[in-house]
């Protein structure tokens, strides 16, 4: 008997199916099989100038900061998640974030960085470190919805927008790594928006708390945006457009 169309599943059946390792294995296999550290091993290494390399190292170091925040955040959120499929999804996200940290660190080594940890520490943007500290504080306090909002809406939406822009004009190897990371990020942003959307529908009293948090974290996120865009040499209009993409995600949840 042919399988029914995916769109005919009930919302519960759909979520049960996609928030699973079974789904995750099938999804990542499609775009990661045969890759080494997230990239096609056959891709040639492009020659880049010293200033370009310096800029790329700077950007990748800060991607590592963001991914470390996301890794610790996703792992920490598991204990707060309200049910099994949500915990399972966050476990898959934790694996994704660890992979991102690994592939960006490996790319830094390929670019000649010997001590990745020290270099990341030296080049970290203070705004990103502040964001990470705030996220982990929310988790420590057991604030499920605010922590999920910070992690899967604010941080993930920012990363999604920045990686997409960077992938357009990156060198071949970095661009290939970013394309794989972007595919993971789609799941994370959708998950965050959906879980929070449902929770807000059930409990609108959460809204002022999330609005307040957004006000606090927006400036950190937007400062990181601008910094990265500047290093990538993107025109100001691009930076504004990316900011808009991020704001649209937040607006869909009713935080215009």
């Amino acid at each position: 008997m042919p399988e029914p169309e995916i769109h005919s599943l009930s919302p519960e059946q759909f979520l049960e199916r996609v928030r699973s390792f079974e789904f995750w294995f099938g999804a990542v296999q499609g775009y990661l099989e045969g890759r080494e550290y997230g990239r096609d091993p056959e891709l040639p290494e492009e020659r880049i100038s010293d200033p370009q390399r310096e800029g790329l190292v700077n950007v990748l170091c800060n991607y590592c900061v963001g991914e470390t925040a996301a890794l610790e955040g996703a792992g920490g959120l598991i204990q707060l998640a309200p049910n099994r499929p949500t915990k399972v999804f966050l476990a898959t996200q934790t694996a994704d974030e660890a992979r991102h940290l690994e592939v960006f660190s490996h790319r830094l080594q390929e670019l000649g960085v010997n001590n990745v940890e020290a270099e990341v520490k030296r080049r970290s943007l203070p705004e990103l470190l502040q964001f990470k500290a705030r996220l982990l504080e929310l988790i420590d306090r057991g604030e499920w919805a605010p922590a999920l909002f910070a992690q899967n809406v604010i941080l993930e939406a920012m990363e999604f927008a920045v990686f997409q822009r960077h992938a357009h004009n990156a060198d071949l190897a970095t661009g290939d790594i970013l394309q794989g990371v972007i595919k993971d990020e789609r799941r994370h942003i959708g998950f965050g928006e959906n879980v929070l959307g449902q929770q807000l529908a059930r409990d609108p009293s959460l809204r002022p708390r999330l609005r307040e948090l957004r006000k606090e974290l927006d400036s950190l996120v937007l400062a990181s945006f601008e910094h990265t865009m500047k290093i990538l040499g993107a025109p100001a209009s691009d930076s504004q457009e990316l900011g808009q993409n991020y704001l649209r995600a937040v607006e869909r949840l009713g935080f215009a």
Partner: protein, 93 residues
Amino acid sequence: MSLPAQEKERPRQRFELDDRGFDEVPRRYRKYYRRFLGAGDVLAPNEVLCPVCKVVIRSVRELREGDRVYCMACMTRLRVVKVDGRLEGRVEY
């Protein structure tokens, strides 16, 4: 959701879905999705764009206002709505 009487009566077109190389979901679901090719990409009557992750969602039948579809790439449930005569997906929580 009310539809114009003519549209209600007209049988929906059916579509044979093919794999367009969308590799972000397990193989058996790939035919339901494809990449959006940008501003010039005209969607077919069985397609709608996911506003969350910008992937094109496909169905075996012509889509109409009020239909429910899922974006597996970002795990979102959408309701098909008509805006300025065009079909769009609106996120449902």
